[in-house]
Symmetry: C2
Subunit: 346 residues, 2 copies
Amino acid sequence: MNAPIGSLADAMVLPQPYLLFLGDTTEPSFAKTAFGLADWAADRCVGEMGVAGCTVTTGLPRLSPAEAYAAGARSLVIGVANQGGVIGDNWVAALTGAMEAGLDIVSGLHVRLASVPALAEAARRTGRRLIDVRTPPPDIPVGTGRKRSGKRLLTVGTDCALGKKYTALALHRAFLDRGLDADFRATGQTGIMIAGGGIPMDAVVSDFEAGAAEILSPDAAPGHWDVIEGQGSLFNPAYAAVSLGLLHGSQPDVFVVCHDPSRKVILGLEDFVLPTIEEVIDLTIRLGSRTNPAIRCGGVSLNTSSMGAGEAEALLGAESRRLGLPVADPIRGGDAFAALVDSCLA
Amino acid sequence: MNAPIGSLADAMVLPQPYLLFLGDTTEPSFAKTAFGLADWAADRCVGEMGVAGCTVTTGLPRLSPAEAYAAGARSLVIGVANQGGVIGDNWVAALTGAMEAGLDIVSGLHVRLASVPALAEAARRTGRRLIDVRTPPPDIPVGTGRKRSGKRLLTVGTDCALGKKYTALALHRAFLDRGLDADFRATGQTGIMIAGGGIPMDAVVSDFEAGAAEILSPDAAPGHWDVIEGQGSLFNPAYAAVSLGLLHGSQPDVFVVCHDPSRKVILGLEDFVLPTIEEVIDLTIRLGSRTNPAIRCGGVSLNTSSMGAGEAEALLGAESRRLGLPVADPIRGGDAFAALVDSCLA
């Protein structure tokens, strides 16, 4: 688990280990959160449970809430989303039973847990907590721009949903593998569950966006790295405000541009052409230098999941030569990814 | 009063005319809101009232709530802020009496009106509304970047609190004086009270910031102008997220840069040098062109309130020649301001 986040720590530190809840899901893509936790927080997941009809599995042991509690679990995490992002009626008995077994409930769904009367009542009766990770902590201060100690890396993107969280997690793991002192700083609901804490930056009131990013990566030892999960894109006409507040408040020393070469337009906004990687580098340096004049680009992370190995390797090499920067796909790893890590730490 | 704002209109249309409430204020600078309303919404202010100890006046008639109601008033606006921005204990009886006389209460203070138990109780008893203009309307959509009909002007700034609201109001009035169809679109609490509606952009959740700006200036007739009050600055390390979301969502055809030549550093953040006017023009065009490729700078509004008339005139002329753009102080008006209006409409 990460170090506490200043005085807001208590509000955003999740009870761990987790029991992963899969609901009645039959479609693996709806269980992305559970798979992400099984991949990136396996040491803090004791097992999984579903209700009647569930056919997906993370591969973790199937446990009842009581068995999970006995194995150390302290919360049940809703690891699935149905269409609409609501609490299924057929989930309520399982969630209530988990509270009776001593587990808090953690959710990243849009609907608030306490808005389901049966869950609110069970929480009162059992004394358990209902934790919505989409809800920011209270009392976030406005930003100050004050330079903080320690080092910071931020992942940025040509758009939303193309690998900024995954890239940050992979870089964080690589930094730890090299013996560095580093924290992954989460800014979205899945990242927050993986990290065990963080701030859902898209849910913060605009006036406090940069301030939230400032408290997310507090002063640290000179050799310490915060690897910060990016959000949105400076070029996304819906979400650029989130990206700029996060950039200013994070004051990164290094950023990595995340891009999906198969994407040509902004997700869901087809009139908006995707920016080039060079445009993202240029604008990120220009805007980021307001709070860290030494900001630099460490390299590029390409999501080559739609390509075969040979095609991907050729593209990574060609893009690296074209841009004069390390270009890697963290999922493929290899020498290219090692070069990206080297460049970030240089 | 402005045209309704899409389907959110009901949430943000204030009951008018107003009775201005001055509390027990003795310091005119704490009554800025009342003075702003008396200046810019005089036709919708029937009078003023204070409580024991009040020594400031807007020059409007002193009326009791019953007299104000008889004169047409439908709300009492709290036109003052004490230190801390709270409801004075010695205000409560007057505010309760206003509700009994048939007036809703409108406030731009940080504290929520309904958090004062006596006011909440009186509102329930009398059926009157407690309206906090710092609270955004519910159900704001995310942005789409879709091009809207009609024309838009946005005021931007080298920093906060140097004349963006005043400049937008003066340009709006000048547009009306020239017979144009135009609305002032308010983005902060005083502006919202003046306009009788609007959205407090700094209080909107970041993910919805651009979307809020989009619904604030909806589709309009081709010759119609929305004159939009700017917020913050793209160069302010605390508030740039607000400014960028407002810029993207407003998709302005024209912007006017507001600047105070006596200010050298960001207000309250002395380590941050104020950007130059040219830097603001350049960055606003670069970022604004994402949602309106035809964006252009109409000119500059200088706040010369700290200068004598001769010194101010010389500076306006020199800056205009240096920048190759109209430069005016809207408070001084004159030929320079007329040239700025011409340029915006060109």
